[in-house]
């Protein structure tokens, strides 16, 4: 077979032979033919020359703009992704999980409960009749005519925070980060959302935004005060974590008070006790309870479900 290879079938193999890109059998066949065919030897020389010459054509360097252009495109893309992710049910679940890690066996039931919440937020509340009609004056807008764009955005934001749709309120909370994160009225509205919004997801989103603004004394105080006003284990637990993170010992008293609340979730209770201990001992922050400590409290599901769905 090898001896039978003719020039026509060998010549297309010469490039591959030069590049070392032939199968062992093909390589042997080509070499056997080359050894006894001067015409193909000549062809090989010509192919080699051209192949080598082609290799000397240089590739210029891309300009210095290429790298910065790529990185700014990447940053834009990332920002857009974060925004998209934030509003997906998966993103919501993920963020809730960061705060709250139920025992592994319970996660599924828990996730299902949250998924239901997500769907309710997504579809159920959208259809709810608008309680704020066009006649009723928008919150905070009436007193001050908004002339500059920033003020218009703020007024819009405050209106949105009072929107009957939970989805709209969630969006408003997220926008607060961009529009006017340190404006006093916006902060007050966010704190009031944290304490009073009927939807736990909106309250958690408000908490997330506020937890990045703890440099503001008003936010810090508002968060400490909020401890005793929460009835959702998710929010309670997230707040307790945040207090440990902030190492704010002023929160010890409201945390103690929270412990006296009736129907306090067992898991939250132990988390708060631990937070108090950490804060009292003035230790380095332990922001999150290790997940293993939850495994002894299988009663969490029955406690969580009604609260989350509220």
């Amino acid at each position: 077979m090898e001896a039978n290879r003719n020039c026509e079938s060998v010549q297309p193999e010469l490039l591959g032979w030069l590049a070392g890109d032939l199968s062992a059998a093909d390589q042997r066949a080509v070499e056997a033919h080359l050894a006894q065919c001067p015409a193909c030897q000549q062809e090989l020389t010509a192919v080699r020359q051209l192949w080598d010459a082609l290799g000397t054509v240089p590739t210029p360097e891309p300009s210095e703009q290429l790298r910065p252009r790529f990185y700014s495109m990447l940053a834009e893309f990332q920002a857009a992704e974060v925004q998209k992710h934030r509003w997906s049910v998966a993103g919501l679940l993920e963020r809730l999980r960061e705060w709250w890690q139920p025992a592994y066996a319970l996660r599924l039931a828990y996730s299902v409960a949250l998924l239901v919440v997500g769907l309710v937020v997504g579809y159920g509340l959208k259809g709810r009749p608008e309680t704020v009609g066009p006649d009723s004056p928008p919150l905070a807008a009436a007193s001050q005519p908004a002339s500059n764009p920033a003020a218009v955005q703020q007024v819009h934001l405050l209106e949105q925070l009072a929107n009957p749709s939970a989805v709209q309120r969630l969006k408003a909370v997220s926008n607060a980060e961009e529009v006017a994160p340190t404006n006093e009225r916006v902060l007050a509205a966010l704190l009031s959302t944290l304490n009073q919004d009927p939807n736990v997801n909106v309250r958690l989103a408000a908490l997330e935004v506020l937890s990045s603004l703890t440099e503001e004394p008003m936010v810090r105080q508002g968060l400490i005060k909020s401890l005793t006003q929460q009835d959702s284990p998710l929010v309670q637990s997230a707040l307790a974590d945040l207090m440990v993170q902030l190492q704010d010992r002023r929160s010890v008293r409201p945390l103690r008070k929270l412990l006296q609340q009736e129907n306090l979730n067992q898991q939250v209770k132990s988390k708060i006790e631990q937070s108090i201990e950490t804060l009292s001992n003035d230790q380095a922050p332990h922001p999150s309870t290790p997940p293993t400590s939850h495994e002894t409290h299988p009663d969490i599901r029955s406690d969580l479900a009604p609260t989350v769905a509220a």
Binding site: L50, A53, S63, Q65
Partner: protein
């Protein structure tokens, strides 16, 4: 790449550092436009981000990357100028950093320019297989996968492309000698 797929978009920065030069070379040798080639490189990385879910992890990342690059090139060719494989001899001489003597350097620069021009005059299909194997150093197997064909077909196409390149080169060389 699977990490990028999992949402760790910042891993894309590593891929950029590793592959932007080869990709730039792919476009540059394909279309001869330095500036356009940069746009197309950017375009490939954008598509990588956007379509990262289409990289299954089976097969090689490079094959997937060149798959996107070929699409970008084809899209650009539809609306863009024809290829412009032309550079001043002086540019080449500079890039080649001279031969043993100034004359030898100039001669080499002229050869390179002719080869570069000849590459530009090949059909897109023939040029592609040479660019992928010579400049991108892909194996026949990878090229076959990329072009959705057999190794045998790739070998034949490369062989014919090289023969055609030689014909064009000789014609150009003749022309340039007559000019002198």
């Amino acid at each position: 790449m699977l990490q990028v797929k999992a949402g760790q978009v910042e891993k894309m920065a590593l891929l950029f550092e590793r592959y932007h030069r080869p990709l730039y070379g792919f476009f540059y040798h394909s279309n001869g436009h330095p500036a356009t080639s940069e746009d197309l490189v950017q375009n490939v990385f954008y598509r990588m981000l956007k379509y990262r879910h289409t990289f299954t992890g089976e097969g090689e990342f490079r094959t997937w990357m060149y798959h996107l690059a070929r699409n970008v090139l084809a899209d650009a060719a539809k609306k863009n100028k024809p290829s412009a494989h032309h550079q001043d001899i002086a540019d080449w001489a500079e890039k080649l950093a001279g031969g043993p003597t100034a004359d030898a350097g100039l001669q080499q620069a002229q050869d390179v320019e002719l080869l570069h021009q000849a590459l530009g005059q090949l059909s897109a299909e023939q040029r592609e297989v040479l660019v992928l194997s010579r400049f991108q150093e892909l194996k026949y197997e990878q090229i076959a996968q990329l072009l959705d064909t057999t190794v045998g077909a790739v070998k034949v196409r490369a062989h014919r492309a090289l023969g055609q390149l030689k014909n064009i080169y000789l014609k150009l060389e003749n022309g340039s000698k007559q000019e002198l």
